[in-house]
């Protein structure tokens, strides 16, 4: 995060504004308040999506560039992230760190993140500063200065960021590569994700953390993008446990989902959890803007910000079982163990390869 790149494709960038809104929403059985947004495209191709909300005196501004770490040049991994940092340095009209002056100094904040497909820059400021920040985003979109001192000092910061993240408890991670997904499949995968890892009654928590006590923490995350995406399982190991045990337990839970349909109660619970999660996300203006940006840029249609839940309601237990079988195959799987130095196998022992040929590497 803070300070991650861009190649500018103004025509691909989506600018999402979320201005604050109408209050006094009707109370009732939980109904998702609609996100009313406007959309237009400037002459230069920049798409602008905006929505009004007046319950908080703030405005969230997000600029989504369709470039990310998948665009890192060969042998220069991390380039997109470092580039993201550079957008906080100087431009033709702004001194270094001026973005921070324009946000923090008025009581707002700003940040950015680099994902595989996108780099997103955002600001949350008192709403009367909207025009000021639009100017600043336009300025760094059009006139960035990349000079040597800026670049070197920022590269040092990224190095410290890297050092500060190296230490982590041991974990095992399973990745499944998902290709050519239909909309129905995507929805079913999202429901599967919640059944597997939503809260302490989820299947992974109940089995790996609570009952078997193999893991201290588990998660299943579906990173569902337009083209190729990943479904990732993570188990942070409990002390004295081996990654092989966690891998076996994860695979067993995946197999259960493939062998039998989930119960009606589990399905209902997952849908309920998805409704609450969406309500929480949209409590803040920045959260609403992220939802619009996600729908417009990653899902390809901003209307999905209002239609996704209705589609999720249609997911059946059979759908969930079907996608688990279709995508969670041995051939689609990559397994990684992250271990501290002390748990490393003795030198000379070969890197493991599991029975189905997926690579296991220590980091």
């Amino acid at each position: 995060m803070h300070r991650h790149s861009r190649k500018i494709f103004a025509s691909c960038a989506a600018l999402v504004l979320w201005m604050v809104a109408l209050s006094g929403a009707p109370r009732a059985q939980t109904r998702m308040p609609r996100v009313e947004f406007k959309q237009r495209t400037l002459a230069n191709g920049l798409r602008v999506l905006s929505a009004v909300d007046k319950s908080s005196p703030t405005v969230a501004i997000q600029v989504w560039y369709k470039v990310g770490s998948k665009d890192d040049p060969d042998g220069r991994s991390g380039f997109a992230h470092l580039f993201e940092h550079m957008l906080f340095k100087s431009t033709k009209n702004m001194k270094s760190e001026m973005m921070d002056r324009l946000t923090e100094d008025v009581g707002g904040n700003n940040n950015a993140f680099t994902a595989d497909d996108v780099t997103v820059y955002y600001e949350v400021v008192p709403s009367n500063y909207l025009e000021t920040l639009l100017w600043a985003e336009a300025d760094r979109m059009g006139s960035l200065n990349v000079d040597d001192p800026n670049f070197k000092s920022e590269r040092d910061v990224v190095k410290e960021e890297f050092r500060s993240r190296v230490l982590a408890p041991p974990y095992g991670r399973l990745f499944y590569l998902l290709e050519q997904k239909s909309f129905v499949d995507v929805d079913a995968l999202r429901v599967a994700e919640v059944i597997l890892s939503g809260g302490e009654s989820s299947r992974l928590y109940r089995s790996l953390v609570y009952e078997q006590q193999i893991a201290a923490q588990t998660s299943a995350v579906s990173d569902l993008r337009e083209d190729v995406s990943l479904f990732t399982y993570l188990a942070i190991l409990a002390s004295e446990k081996k990654p092989e045990e966690a891998e076996r337990a994860l695979l067993a839970e995946i197999k259960k989902m493939q062998d039998a349909p989930v119960s009606a109660a589990e399905l209902e619970k997952a849908k309920n959890q998805l409704v609450t999660a969406q309500l929480h996300e949209r409590e803040t203006n920045n959260g609403k803007a992220l939802a619009i940006g996600d729908a417009a840029v990653l899902l390809g249609d901003p209307q999905r910000v209002n239609t996704d839940l209705a589609r999720l309601e249609k997911v059946t237990a059979a759908d969930v079982q079907r996608v688990m079988k279709k995508y969670m195959t041995d051939a689609n799987r990559l397994v990684i163990y992250y271990l501290p130095e002390s748990m490393k196998k003795p030198a000379g022992s070969p890197r493991g390869t599991n029975s189905n040929g997926a690579t296991k590497g220590g980091e």
Binding site: R27, P57, E160, S239
Partner: protein, 499 residues
């Protein structure tokens, strides 16, 4: 000049005028569109939001109930606070309050742990519990239409936990695992050591979640006794908020907590007490040769939540901390020595700590300690221009407003004011309270309440890479190998083996 010439000339001038005007209009239009202006446009008039006053009443058993309404999103939240937290841990049983609170959701007389999780999550809600300094707490978040069944679970876990041995052992293992992980990280070790350096053997000195030794010693009987002693309606506050009316909320509170019996015994006094500020500053190094980075921390006693200097302290800390605060400016932005530097002024029922900290490569450990202390001294002695102070106050005001954007944030803020016996009006006076602080206030606060001479320095990292530079500056450097670190007391060293 003949008539024809005149007509011609006038016509020419008229035409020229039109062309010129058009050209000017065109250039104006051109300037408006693509050529960007060189300075940012000024802000429009500011907008404000006023927070409604919470409603409150006290039940016959002494439970204080507070309700804050907000109807913008169909969400609701409740917080049950017991006004006793980690400060009440007995000396040998650090972590007792936190373990007790964490076990609330792990089984009641009618629900096993998995059932609690299953039922609250089936409602689309969540429950969590734990202790902090000054309070033990259970929280629920839920869709407003499901608040009643969610609160039934909240009341059950607070009033009727069973503390099953199996659950205690499971949690104990998790605490030990978490502590082992924390003890491999320089930043976490530095924070644990800092508490011991500031508070010694006093109530805020130990790690909130206990030490490897104390957690191993906690027995079921200690947990049951802690719950019996402190979890009582006259030592608790219930805050309910979100898309619910005060009438509905009070009714729920009465129904679910009205028959919670108040014990006949008197309530035990708070364990927290003022720590003497006279303790000598220390310079403590924890040598961890395998550390990839050194954690550097400067710490001293700060203020309590009800201190009359609270807002001065808040603004003073804001000048130092935050992305554009002085610490990060000097350490990250100007020198690239760290991914981030910052400080905190933790306010509690009694005096809490002030800490300034940064992680850096081992070689820069001593330099970063100097920079942290230097900024503390500069705040007391140097200039603080309005151009710098005004934005640092805006940071506080903006952060405050953002925290209150969510129902959970709003309810937590109300709960915190209730816990410390402060007026709910503070939510609406906060902005003015911050705005009224002057540069002279900050300077006075820094010199009288946070003098750098009283601050201790802690560095956790690969000592050989920063110790020579540190020793040049300080004579009283204590060096502890990480393997010998003892967090059970202020001395920090393992007691010598007695025969």
């Amino acid at each position: 000049m003949n008539l024809r010439d005149k007509i011609f000339r006038h016509a020419f001038y008229a035409l020229a005028l039109i062309v010129l005007t058009l050209a000017m209009l065109a250039s104006a239009a051109f300037a408006q569109a693509p050529a960007p202006q060189a300075t940012p446009p000024p802000p429009a008039a500011p907008r404000t939001v006023k927070f409604p006053a919470p409603a409150e009443r006290t039940l016959a058993n002494g439970l204080r109930v507070v309700v804050i309404e907000r109807h913008t999103t169909p969400l609701a939240a409740a917080r049950l606070l017991v006004k006793t937290g980690g400060e009440a841990d007995p000396a040998q049983l650090a972590g007792l309050a936190d373990m007790t609170a964490s076990l609330l959701t792990k089984g009641t007389t009618t629900r096993k742990a998995p059932e609690i999780a299953e039922q609250i999550e089936a409602l689309g809600g969540s429950i969590e519990s734990g202790a902090r300094w000054d309070a033990s707490q259970a929280n629920i978040d839920a869709q407003a239409s499901r608040l009643a069944p969610a609160m039934e679970i909240l009341a059950d876990v607070v009033r009727r936990p069973v503390f099953e041995s199996e659950e205690i052992e499971r949690l104990r293992q998790q605490y030990l695992d978490n502590m082992s992980v924390a003890l491999s990280q320089p930043g976490a070790i530095a924070r644990f050591v800092a508490s011991r350096v500031v508070f010694g053997d006093e109530p805020y000195g130990h790690p909130l979640s206990g030490t490897l030794e104390s957690v191993a010693q906690i027995k079921r009987v200690d947990i049951v006794k802690f719950h019996e002693t402190y979890y009582r309606p006259d030592n608790a506050i219930l805050v309910i908020g979100g898309d619910v009316t005060a009438g509905e909320a009070f009714q729920l509170a009465e129904k679910l907590f009205g028959d919670w019996k108040k014990p006949a015994s008197a309530l035990p006094a708070s364990a927290a007490r003022k720590v003497s500020a006279g303790a000598k500053p220390r310079v403590v190094v924890i040598d961890k040769p395998d550390a990839g980075q050194a954690a550097v921390l400067v710490t001293r006693l700060g203020i309590n939540r009800k201190d009359q200097d609270f807002f001065r302290g808040l603004v003073a800390n804001s000048v130092l901390s935050g992305y554009s605060g002085r610490l990060n400016q000097e350490i990250r932005i100007k020198r690239g020595l760290s991914y981030g530097a910052g400080s905190s002024l933790e306010v509690r029922r009694d005096t809490g700590p002030f800490t300034a900290t940064a992680q850096t490569k081992n070689e820069s450990g001593a330099q970063v300690a100097d920079l942290l202390l230097g900024e503390l001294a500069r705040l007391a002695n140097g200039e603080l221009p309005d151009a710098e102070l005004t934005p640092r106050k805006a940071v506080l005001i903006g952060g405050f407003a953002r925290n209150l954007e969510t129902v959970g944030g709003l309810v937590s803020q109300v709960a915190s004011l209730a816990l410390y016996g402060l007026s709910f009006g503070e939510m609406n006076t906060y902005v003015n309270n911050v705005q009224s602080i002057t540069a002279a206030d900050v300077k006075r606060f820094a010199s009288s309440r946070l003098p750098s001479q009283g601050a201790s320095v802690i560095i956790v990292g690969d000592a050989k890479k920063f110790l020579p530079a540190l020793k040049e500056k300080y004579q009283n450097v204590e060096v502890n190998p990480v393997a010998e670190l003892n967090l059970n007391g202020g001395v920090l060293r393992q007691a010598p083996k007695t025969p």
